[in-house]
């Protein structure tokens, strides 16, 4: 099968084109550096099917960051049958800079002039034929988003792939032509393939090429010595870059005729940036947007209407029966939207999904199983083990999707890149560049792609530090733990406000990340913070198709996980809690004799300083089990709660009032566990914090291992996660329980800081002395 590679600048629409061509739903976002690995798909409408390879965005063939190396090596070493060079027509000259470099490789090539819809909307025109004749390769106008011109593009590319093409260069007319020619002849004599490309890269002093052709360097230096230039001196790479840009503006740029003739004008994006990246207001605006997102997703009092107008509850309105059940179906529906306060959209969707759909479905299924003539243990396994576990995980789909939708909107609109920019100055103080913000915010969705995305960071140590703190940016799977425990705290102890607690826990994760990064960058991962250079994409309205594709991907991933790894672990946990060491089946009441209880009670004391260890007495081990189950997948924590809570209720003979263990987000399950163990609020918060900052799930650990590469660094990362989670949870528990311990923690922190500062100063002095 023929292979076509998509190459072009970051954020020029390669992945959008890839999705349109292959029908994939690969992640697209409006910021440079979404794609960090190559990706395959198949296009079927050419005479024979063609493999399409989507490459990470590159500004040139001399890479700056790790993911750019992937794209360069693919084009050079894997020899695709055709390179489709995607050019953002709204930024023609800059994009053609890369084109002039790909032209130098002996590979068939087609130019796709993307975003033509934008160009035409602005009233500008591009003469594709003129461009094509001057470049010497076919040029096709397309709009990847609107799917215009794709068929034409692929047919042109297919035709091009049937012929060989020898590299050409725009440097032929420059003063360097002679020098390049000499090096090319020398390389050709050595039998180097594609001598033109390598010759030019060697003249440019490209580090990868210099490494490859070490023995030829002295000769090239001799050639160079004969070349003189008044402006650039012996700075050959600047000379080459200048020559390329000059050629582009002289020969290629005239193909574009702009409607507006004045050379400088402010676009609408620029005006929006005046406000959104403002020196003073930039960060407050960002925080308000962030809070609004949480409010829209989690608040049970939308815009605080209920609190402001003192709205009546359903009970006040006389719409409930004596058992606090809704009078009829209509009231049930109303209760999803309103109860003493209007719920936020996220909560409404959540209520409808859980109360009307999932709850109903699993309630019916459970009744069916109970009514059948199955053995009691089988009924227990299916109802308490499988159904409770799965339904509690599925019940979290709505908040995860709603939160994810908002982040997708931010990303698609182009605002994300601005956040990175406004946070850069702050990040710099902690030893990171604003670029590190991108993978971090992706961490709110899932740590796995976030860790892979750290490839956009140029500095190795910065990258390691970022990979380590990504799990602290609480991912979608950790959200259930947050909402269930926070909801239970509010419901049981009557303190606080669920959305505020959730927001604060997210903030806690961020603060932990900042503190630990600061610590690492001053101790084990010392190094210069790389400079911040980033392209700010133009703002555009989020694409509905794109958003839906993101959500669909997320849903698929989540449901798949619920029915595989989580299903398997709930069954395992059910077995371990219902069999004793001598393989006797145990009733729910005898849970304390189970294998799981036996093992967990052994390790329980370790968690005492965190508030969920020995002090909780005989049932305290359930929290330990939940946390350990979370190492497989974080959704397990809440699934385990559901499974264990039903046993606890049976065993401790709890009077749980109107609580429904299997229902709604595990809040009731957590309440039952509070009842059984007598756990305190600080310990519950510490439990959340521990789960948020400890070793992430299997998948994330595997990714971290692959991305860090170095075994020693990976082991250090595991230790880092264990220590930081233990310290954070212990601090929360002790300060929450005994406020004066805050002084002890402060003293320890101050001492540690002083120690690090002193040590670094001494190190600096020794360096100076040497």
């Amino acid at each position: 099968m023929k292979r076509f590679a998509l190459a072009g600048n970051p954020n020029c629409g390669k992945t959008t084109l890839f999705n349109s061509l292959t029908g994939s739903t690969a992640h697209v976002g409006n910021w440079p550096g979404v794609t960090v690995d190559k990706r395959d798909g198949v296009y079927k409408k050419t005479p024979e099917p063609v493999a399409i390879v989507d490459l990470p965005g590159i500004y040139s063939l001399s890479p700056y960051t790790p993911e750019e190396v992937i794209a360069r090596n693919y084009i050079l070493d894997e020899k695709p049958d055709c390179v489709i060079n995607i050019v953002d027509a709204t930024n023609l000259e800059r994009n053609l800079y890369l084109t002039t470099q790909i032209l130098e490789i002996d590979v068939p090539m087609v130019i796709a002039l993307n975003m033509m819809d934008e160009v035409e909307k602005a009233g500008d025109k591009i003469d594709a034929e003129l461009l094509s004749s001057r470049l010497g390769v076919p040029v096709v106008k397309i709009s990847a988003l609107k799917e215009n011109g794709l068929k034409d593009l692929m047919e042109t590319a297919y035709a091009a792939s049937l012929k060989e093409r020898v590299g050409t260069t725009v440097l032929e007319e420059s003063s360097l032509a002679h020098l390049i020619g000499d090096v090319r002849i020398a390389l050709k004599g050595q039998g180097v393939k594609g001598p033109l490309f390598h010759a030019i890269k060697l003249v440019e002093n490209d580090s990868i090429e210099v490494e490859m052709h070490k023995e030829t360097i002295p000769m090239i230096d001799e050639f160079k010595a004969t070349h003189e230039d008044d402006v650039f001196g012996d700075d050959f790479e600047a000379l080459v870059a200048d020559a390329r840009y000059k050629y582009i503006s002289e020969y290629f740029a005239p193909a574009l005729s702009k409607k507006k003739q004045e050379k400088f004008s402010m676009s609408r994006s620029d005006k929006a940036d005046k406000v959104l990246t403002h020196k003073v207001w930039g960060i407050p605006i960002f925080l308000v947007i962030l809070f609004a997102i949480f409010h829209l997703t989690f608040s049970e009092d939308f815009l605080y209407l209920g609190a402001i107008f003192k709205l009546p509850t359903l009970e006040d309105l006389g719409l409930l029966t004596e058992d606090a059940d809704p009078l009829h179906y209509g009231v049930r529906l109303l209760a999803c939207i309103y109860d003493g306060a209007v719920f936020s959209p996220g909560v409404i969707i959540n209520n409808i999904w859980n109360n009307m759909l999932v709850g109903e479905l699993f309630g019916r299924l459970g009744g069916l199983v109970e009514g059948s003539s199955m053995a009691p243990w089988a009924v227990g396994l299916i109802n308490n083990g499988i159904f409770d576990g799965i339904s509690s995980v599925l019940s979290f789909l709505p908040p995860i999707l709603v939160l994810f939708l908002f982040f997708s909107i931010l990303e698609d609109s182009g605002y994300m890149a601005r956040i990175a920019f406004i946070l850069d100055r702050m990040f710099r103080r902690f030893g990171l560049s604003g670029r590190a913000f991108m993978p971090m915010i992706m961490g709110f969705g899932c740590s796995v792609p976030a860790m892979i995305n750290t490839r956009t960071l140029a500095d190795d140590k910065e990258r390691t530090a970022t990979v380590r703190v990504i799990p602290f940016f609480s991912c979608g799977a950790k959200l259930p733990i947050l909402t269930a425990v926070a909801g239970a705290i509010v419901a049981y102890f009557g303190v606080g406000n669920a959305d505020v607690i959730t927001f604060l826990m997210y903030l806690l994760g961020i603060v932990t990340a900042v503190v630990t990064v600061l610590l690492m960058r001053n101790t084990t991962l010392k190094g210069e913070t790389p400079p911040f250079i980033m392209e700010l994409p133009a703002y555009h309205a989020p694409q509905f198709k794109n958003l839906m594709a993101h959500l669909w991907d997320k849903t698929k991933h989540f449901v798949k996980k619920a029915f595989t790894i989580i299903l398997a672990s709930t069954i395992v946990i059910w077995f371990l809690t219902h069999f004793s060491f001598n393989w006797h089946f145990l009733e729910d009441e005898a849970i304390n004799e189970s294998i799981l209880a036996g093992v967990s009670q052994l390790v329980q004391p370790i968690f005492t300083p965190l508030g969920f260890g020995s002090q909780l007495g005989q049932f305290g081990w359930v929290f330990v089990v939940a946390a350990v189950a979370g190492l497989i997948a974080k959704e397990n924590v809440i699934a385990t709660f559901a499974t264990l809570a039903s046993c606890l209720v049976a065993m401790a003979n709890l009077n749980i009032g109107g609580l429904d263990i299997a229902a709604e987000e595990g809040i009731d399950a957590v309440q039952a566990m509070i009842l059984a163990t007598g756990i305190s609020v600080p310990a519950l918060i510490a439990f959340i914090a521990f789960n948020m900052t400890t070793i992430p799930c299997f998948a994330a650990v595997g990714t971290a291992k692959a991305e860090l590469g170095d075994k020693k660094r990976f082991n250090g990362t595991l230790i880092f996660w264990i220590t930081s989670s233990y310290a954070v949870a212990a601090m929360i528990y002790t300060i929450g329980s005994w406020w004066w311990t805050a002084f002890i923690w402060a003293a320890v922190a101050a001492a540690a800081t002083a120690l690090v500062v002193l040590k670094n100063k001494r190190a600096a002095k020794t360096v100076k002395a040497v």
């Binding site: 709204t90 800059r94 402006v231 620029d270 911040f532």
Partner: protein
């Protein structure tokens, strides 16, 4: 003068880029080259957003103090 204190919204010509080699190479790939044109859109506390060709590029203090325009 460095672009961090250069006048805004007017087209300037770059005369010198005084960063390390690797960074300079990356800036060239982005269109920031000696002899090239650049327009400062906003500058606050050292960070600069500038227009180069038809793109918008954000630079921090460590870079914006090292790009000199005439």
């Amino acid at each position: 003068m460095p672009i961090v204190i250069a006048p805004k919204n007017s087209i300037l010509r770059i005369v010198r880029i005084a960063t390390d080699e690797q960074t300079k190479k990356h800036l060239e790939d982005l269109g920031i080259t000696v002899n090239g044109e650049i327009t400062v859109l906003s500058a606050s506390g050292g960070t600069v957003v500038c227009k180069v060709k038809d793109g918008r590029i954000a630079l921090d203090r460590s870079i914006s103090t090292k790009i000199f325009v005439a």
